[in-house]
């Protein structure tokens, strides 16, 4: 079976201006919801207490909330988690001198008063200082990854134009994922951070394969028109792009469907990331490199007359 039995010849770059507008709208939109609504950060980042409880039958959320509130615990959020039998309870960080074990006892007693067969399956207490440090180290990790990849692409392909294209593409994708999380207010936890960094890796993976082909095409003729070289390269790698995105999407969708509620956020970010990453390697990374003035000679520094020409 083959999706493309002949190499396709779509004129991808011709419509790039339209896609710039689309990308810009999505990016600005994501930024806007991020600023206005913010992320629904989990206790991993904010500090606080999370309790996961399982009921023998569908849980009565309202009764559970009343029981916990009457037990004297303030600012409680009670929600379903995964199935109707699972309940997640979120509470603010522990007060000075309060111990987690006592709180657990309190919550357990309160829930038992409504349904004696309830089982506490998870009890997490995160101090506020731990949370803010995690957020900081996540931002650090993100910045360092982007920086290192910029350097790698610049060294490997001898031109900052491709590097810049790759990085903008790679930032475009997580921004959209973040926007989605802000829009839906899905819980943003540590595993989502891991997923977002994996999305960056994945998106670049896709981009670099296209770039590799661009270099190969330019190798044949450095003076070819950049736009047609890019179109040809994207077309030649298209079946691979579709296949790889397809298989990866396949497993991530399975993970979403079967991996349980703990991996929901993780798999959702990957699903979005893979779709958006495939698009961005064509219409953001490659297109941007073209508009930054990419020419065949940039990729082969030995043949170039003036080495300073390549500096940004």
């Amino acid at each position: 079976m083959e999706f493309f039995s002949k190499t396709t010849s779509f004129a991808f770059m011709k419509t790039r201006k339209v896609w710039y507008v689309v990308s810009a709208i999505f990016m600005l939109g994501s930024l806007a919801v991020l600023v206005t609504r913010g992320l629904n950060l989990s206790v991993d980042f904010t500090g606080g207490v999370t309790v996961e409880a399982t009921y023998p039958a569908a849980a009565d959320i309202e009764a559970a909330r009343t029981a916990v509130t009457t037990a004297g615990i303030r600012d409680v959020q009670v929600q379903n988690f995964g199935t109707s039998r699972d309940v997640i309870i979120r509470m603010p960080p522990l007060a000075e001198g309060q111990s987690g074990a006592d709180l657990r006892q309190q919550v357990e007693t309160a829930l038992r008063s409504v349904e004696p067969a309830v089982e506490i399956r998870r009890f997490d207490v995160v101090g506020p200082q731990v949370g803010s440090e995690l957020l900081k180290s996540a931002i650090w990790a993100l910045s360092l990854t982007v920086f290192l990849i910029f350097i790698y692409v610049a060294l490997r392909f001898h031109t900052w134009r491709l590097s810049a294209g790759a990085i903008v593409g790679a930032l475009h994708d997580p921004l959209l994922v973040l926007g989605f999380f802000a829009l839906t207010q899905m819980t943003f936890d540590l595993s989502v951070v891991a997923a977002i960094l994996a999305v960056i890796g994945y998106s670049l993976n896709d981009t670099v394969v296209v770039f590799d082909r661009i270099r190969e095409r330019f190798e044949h003729n450095q003076r070819s028109a950049p736009e047609s070289v890019l179109d040809l390269s994207i077309n030649q790698t298209l079946s691979r792009t579709v296949m790889t995105s397809g298989t990866t999407l396949l497993v991530v969708v399975v993970l979403f469907a079967l991996g349980g509620p703990a991996l929901q956020g993780f798999s959702v970010s990957l699903i979005i990331g893979i779709v958006v990453g495939t698009y961005s390697s064509i219409y953001v990374a490659s297109a941007l490199a073209l508009d930054l003035g990419l020419k065949g000679e940039h990729l082969f520094p030995i043949a170039r007359k003036d080495p300073l020409d390549d500096l940004p």
């Binding site: 074990a101 731990v130 290192l148 670049l204 399975v254």
Partner: protein
């Protein structure tokens, strides 16, 4: 002609065989087991194993097998019922000498266990347990050292009859306490005091200062010294926590440093954090005091209080002991304690700081032949109801005499405590080392995962992995036919290799780790796809099947390398910066990239060359 060097075949075969062996223990599953260890931490031998077995037979507790694993006896059972019965029996009958822990023993054949191969350890989110993150009050440790200096300054100056207005710890620069200030009476000469302090406390740097209340001398710790002290405090606390965790009888506990001032503790199988936390966050210290040999202990016990100038204690066996109120040296003057053996039998060799040594010297000079006691003090925090019925934290102090021995001769900063059994000596050394530090620790993060959630996580994770892999297999075979089958074999080899690496590195598998394996499966086919698409392209360009395969592998190489290196960068950064679930994911992602490159470039090549290579004529490829 399509060829693949013979040594490469051998390499692929050898690596895969090795991986298979390493991955093997994971496929057998685990049996419920009971871990039995000696209370004094001495390793158990075959004789001890036999006595445990005989004991269980006597009590009619059925078990399937027992063996020795790192000094402890593991007893395996067919069901959890037998495991629990055995635990109760051992605790009941042998509880004085042994501690037990519920555990799991791999069901893998004997020979795998003997050569040290084990299944990969499961993270707490997959088997349930308690995770605690402690913050060490490192500044408290520095302040504590400085207040020792403060006392030493006072004593030194007083001994030399130098008048002092006040001695206090100060914040010489910045917002952290880092020095001690000696304030002299107005108009006093700083010279003699400065000279004395500089001579006696060579590790501090001194300078004089004119303050509004008079001339002052500041002794300041260097940044290096502060760092050393902080590291020491953390190391000490890790030792303390390790010792205490061992007392809990938990199987495979983990105590490790996390970042500059945190310690993470993982206790598989533990659910109730109350008892555990209480035990772990106790602050302990030591005091050396002379025994009160003039008053009667019996009198003190009957009257319920000690005579003036003395204090009534209890020793390890709960026997009353009467010690003098005056403290010779406290535990924070203790710099090291090790168990050794001397002519008089097992002993603990103790080393004190210079100041502590001096005080000990004075004391022993005057008290040869008398007895000196070592008091072990633990401070724990407990929640108690106050008069108004509210729960408030209260500090509870327990004091116990752990050693009472006769002073044989004059000694100072180095001496030995004798008259102990080997295990007592080992325990005392540990306790002294562990108890010597009183830098407070407090819990900043606490996560408890119930066993049923762990079980559900692992079931869902493994099911998602199997179904995801199956879906990719079907897809690849439909799309690439014969070559798709090769990709499936390669993918399978990749998962085996990854499992082997994780088992060999003893990296614990968590739920995000399983997600990482699933993602790796999806992304690992990419290398195959790149190669196959290249081969198809070469075929379309009219090249012969064999040369298309060759060119396909060669031309795809640079794309595969570049694409994987970028993902590798993200993986490694996550590995370094991440903690908890992020790291669990990053480890798998990073290793997965490496294994998938190996299997796709060498494994796939070997298989395809085996099918299409050599001198045979190939008319068309199944691609």
């Amino acid at each position: 002609m399509l060829e693949f060097a013979r040594w490469k075949y051998w390499l692929v075969a050898a690596v895969l065989l090795l991986a298979l062996v390493f991955a093997l223990p994971n496929f057998f599953g685990e049996d419920p087991a009971l871990q039995v260890a000696r209370k004094d931490r001495a390793p158990m031998d075959a004789a001890a194993q036999k006595s445990v077995e005989e004991f269980l037979r006597e009590r009619h507790v059925p078990f399937s097998k027992s063996y020795i694993d790192t000094g402890r006896v593991m007893v395996r059972f067919d069901d959890v019922g037998g495991q629990l019965k055995a635990r109760d029996a051992v605790n009941d009958g042998l509880g004085n000498d042994y501690i037990t822990a519920l555990s799991f023993a791999p069901r893998a054949p004997e020979f795998l266990r003997v050569i040290g191969l084990k299944p990969m350890p499961l993270g707490l989110d997959l088997r349930g347990g308690l995770y605690l993150l402690f913050q060490v009050d490192v500044n408290g440790a520095v302040e504590q050292l400085l207040s020792n200096y403060e006392q030493d300054f006072r004593r030194t100056l007083r001994d030399q009859n130098i008048a002092v207005a006040d001695v206090n710890t100060i914040k010489a620069d910045g917002d952290k306490t880092n020095g001690v200030r000696v304030l002299l009476p107005a108009g006093a000469d700083t010279g003699p005091a400065l000279k004395l302090l500089q001579e006696k406390f060579t590790d501090l740097s001194f300078k004089t200062n004119d303050t509004s209340s008079g001339p002052a001398i500041d002794g300041v710790m260097s940044d290096e010294q502060i760092r050393t002290r902080q590291n020491y405090a953390i190391q000490q606390n890790i030792t303390t926590l390790r010792n205490r965790v061992n007392e809990l009888g938990v199987s495979e506990p983990l105590v490790q440093r996390q970042g500059p001032e945190r310690i993470a503790v993982q206790l598989p199988g533990v659910q109730n954090s109350a008892d555990v936390k209480d035990l772990l966050s106790k602050v302990a210290t030591l005091e050396f005091r002379m025994a009160d040999e003039t008053n009667s202990i019996a009198d003190a016990v009957t009257r319920g209080r000690a005579p003036l100038g003395s204090k009534l204690y209890r020793d390890k066996n709960n026997q009353p002991v009467l010690l003098k109120r005056e403290i010779i040296v406290t535990g924070d003057q203790l710099t090291d304690a090790t168990s050794t053996s001397t002519q008089e039998g097992p002993a603990v060799s103790v080393r004190l700081s210079a100041q502590g040594g001096e005080r000990m010297l004075e004391n022993t000079r005057a008290n040869v032949g008398r007895r000196m006691g070592v008091v072990f003090i633990e401070i724990s925090r407990q929640m108690q109801k106050n008069a108004a019925g509210e729960l408030v934290p209260r500090e509870i102090k327990t004091e116990k005499v752990i050693s009472l021995a006769t002073i044989q001769g004059v000694f100072s900063s180095q001496f030995q405590i004798t008259g102990l059994s080997p295990s007592e000596a080992r325990d005392l050394a540990l306790l002294l080392r562990a108890g010597a530090l009183a830098a407070p620790i407090f819990i900043v993060e606490e996560r408890a995962i119930g066993p049923s959630l762990g079980k559900q996580n692992i079931e869902q994770g493994v099911r998602a992995l199997l179904i995801g892999m199956a879906a990719v297999f079907v897809f690849m075979v439909i799309y690439y036919k014969g070559f798709g089958l090769v990709a499936c074999a390669v993918l399978l080899a990749n998962v085996v290799l990854l499992t082997a690496l994780l088992s060999g590195l003893r990296a614990s598998l968590s739920l995000p780790g399983i997600a990482g394996i699933i993602l790796t499966v999806g992304m690992a086919v990419d290398a195959n796809i790149l190669i196959y698409e290249r081969i198809r392209e070469e075929l379309r360009n009219g090249n012969s099947p064999q040369s298309s395969i060759k060119a396909g592998f060669e031309k795809a190489l640079s794309s595969i390398a570049d694409a994987n290196i970028t993902t590798l960068i993200a993986g490694v950064v996550l590995w370094i910066f991440g903690s908890g679930p992020i790291r669990g994911f990053a480890v798998v992602l990073t290793l997965g990239i490496i294994t998938s490159m190996f299997t796709a470039l060498l494994g796939a090549r070997a298989l395809i060359t085996l099918v299409y290579g050599g001198k045979r004529k190939v008319a068309r490829l199944s691609i």
